[in-house]
């Protein structure tokens, strides 16, 4: 019974962390689709979201229903700012162009600036994350789970379902999906790709902000260097999931979270961050285009 209890515990832990990876990965998929490069400052937008939550929680009296949307809007606006910084750098539709490389390097620069600003105001130490949910534990007899984890898993799933509905059933969502898959075709069909790109930056960054709040709730702390490692998890899920597949990114994120948690519980927590890259290498050897890539001619 104890073995089963540990297994359940680890799977639920993995689901809670995996669902936040999924929120980050969704953003990467969206941004890669419209930019055709990895927007490397996305992980630091996520980081900024965590610190926005720390700052505004006291102003909003720790009300999660206010903190969550305000952080989402703030990170969404920060994402738009990144868009306006990289937009004048030139055409980014040709992956072999110099402009493409310029954009890539500038997004690394933006990451550094965000980290430096956070270091300046918060120092290099972990910060306690405000208690947005009452601490209590749900006891299932043979295993226990904090209510905050259940709320995070549930909320992340509700958000992902909403996102799935939005992206596959609304006019704007379908335009985003089309632009993500084939921006040139989307443009030639009359879609305002410029507007869709701005909107994608806002939504992807807002989603990272929501992920940041959930991560803060799960970990109880945030620190100025957490963006890179958690951002990498989202990136791994995006690539292994098939780069332009939203469903692929979500499924692989959950799988990654659970695998990491099992590795942590049964082998050693020291290896948990290596698991993701190990899985990515295996997936890319077996299926270089990613697990759920829709393929092109």
């Amino acid at each position: 019974m104890e073995t089963l209890s540990t297994l359940f515990q680890q799977v639920l832990n993995g689901l809670s962390i995996g669902s936040t990876y999924a929120l980050i990965a969704i953003g990467y998929v969206m941004l890669f689709g419209v930019l055709r490069i990895v927007q490397l400052s996305h992980s630091e937008i996520f980081l900024a979201g965590a610190f926005f939550a720390v700052i505004i929680s006291s102003l909003l009296k720790g009300n999660i229903f206010l903190v969550l949307p305000v952080v989402a809007i703030l990170t969404g606006l920060l994402g738009l700012l990144v868009y306006f910084i990289i937009r004048p750098l030139g055409s980014i539709s040709d992956p072999n162009s110099q402009e493409h490389l310029n954009v890539l390097v500038v997004t690394i620069g933006i990451s550094t600036v965000i980290i430096n600003v956070i270091l300046k105001y918060f120092g290099g130490f972990p910060q306690k994350f405000p208690q947005l949910l009452e601490y209590s534990v749900v006891d299932f007899n043979f295993f226990q789970i904090p209510i905050s984890s259940i709320v995070c898993i549930f909320s992340a799933f509700v958000f992902m379902l909403f996102f799935r509905w939005f992206i596959s059933s609304t006019k704007t969502g379908l335009k985003i999906q089309a632009t993500t898959e084939n921006p040139v075709l989307a443009q030639s069909m009359g879609i305002n790709v410029e507007f869709i790109t701005k909107l994608s930056f806002f939504i992807a960054s807002a989603t990272a902000g929501i992920a940041a709040v959930f991560i803060g709730i799960i970990l109880n702390y945030v620190h100025p260097f957490m963006g890179a490692i958690l951002g990498f998890k989202g990136l791994i899920a995006m690539i292994a999931g098939g780069v332009t597949s939203f469903s692929g990114a979500v499924i692989f994120s959950l799988f990654l979270g659970i695998t990491e948690s099992l590795a942590s519980g049964y082998i050693s927590s020291s290896y948990s961050d290596s698991v993701g890259f190990g899985l990515l290498i295996i997936v890319l050897i077996l299926k270089p285009s990613g697990l759920f890539n829709k393929g092109k001619e």
């Binding site: 006019k171 379908l174 335009k175 999906q177 089309a178 898959e181 084939n182 040139v184 075709l185 443009q187 030639s188 069909m189 009359g190 879609i191 305002n192 790709v193 410029e194 332009t244 597949s245 829709k294 393929g295 092109k296 001619e297």
Partner: protein, 238 residues
């Protein structure tokens, strides 16, 4: 004489320091089918991309008298120009039905509707049998049919088809060109940027040959048929 739906006046295009199109002037009358023939690298695709403002060019391109130079691609398509390229011309993440419905959804209400989804399916019956099949699993010919269907659902007055016979079997290519006549009968003007000499000559009302970026031949369908052997030598540069 018909009014011109599209005019290209003295258009030149430079890409990566090479002039790929030089001083091209082409007139496309309303309700006509015009062919632009040329081998690989002749500049056909560049010309098509210039019409849609996807690349920089010098000269003037006017659609129904309106200069397109300052307009973004989405605004140009909104005016009633639709475009089909030879590859990556449908959304692979969508099924045939979803691709067609998406195109219909995007169609601006410009006061007329040339085609319904049912008409597209009757034009290309194979699509009905595979209506829920994902775009990524279709053959090249089926993709071309879906792409033309999507293009027509946007209620265009002018469609530009860039090498649609590329990768098609002769039978499939014949079927596509046959369908263009039916589409034209509905009042849609068509520009074909092509390499398939036989099908182009039997389909178009008039013809231009683009050779090394310059217009080297211009004639009506009758003239083109009369000049067919000369035209072949002009086309192949022999």
């Amino acid at each position: 004489m018909n009014d011109m739906i599209l005019t290209l006046d003295d258009v030149s295009i430079v890409r990566s320091y090479n002039t790929v199109v030089r001083n091209a002037s082409i007139n496309i009358p309303e309700n006509s089918i015009i062919g632009i023939l040329g081998p690989n690298g002749a500049g056909k695709s560049s010309l098509v991309q210039a019409i849609l403002n996807l690349i920089e060019y010098s000269g003037t391109i006017k659609y129904k008298g309106k200069n397109l130079k300052k307009l973004s691609t989405d605004k140009i398509t909104e005016l009633g120009i639709s475009f089909v390229s030879s590859n990556n011309n449908i959304f692979y993440g969508f099924s045939i039905r979803e691709n067609l419905k998406f195109a219909q959804m995007l169609a601006r209400k410009r006061g007329k509707e040339h085609f319904s989804i049912e008409e597209i399916l009757s034009l290309f019956p194979i699509l009905e049998q595979r209506i829920d099949q994902s775009g990524s699993t279709l053959s090249v010919g089926e993709k071309q049919n879906v792409a033309i269907g999507m293009c027509l659902l946007s209620s265009p007055d002018l469609i530009i088809l860039d090498e649609i016979s590329s990768g098609l079997s002769p039978i499939a290519a014949n079927m596509v060109f046959d369908s263009l006549k039916k589409i034209n009968e509905k009042g849609v003007s068509i520009v074909l940027a092509e390499q398939d000499v036989n099908n182009v000559v039997r389909t178009v009302d008039s013809l231009y040959i683009l050779s090394k970026g310059e217009i080297s031949y211009q004639g009506t369908n009758l003239e083109a048929q009369r000049d067919f052997s000369n035209l072949i030598s002009e086309y192949f540069g022999m």
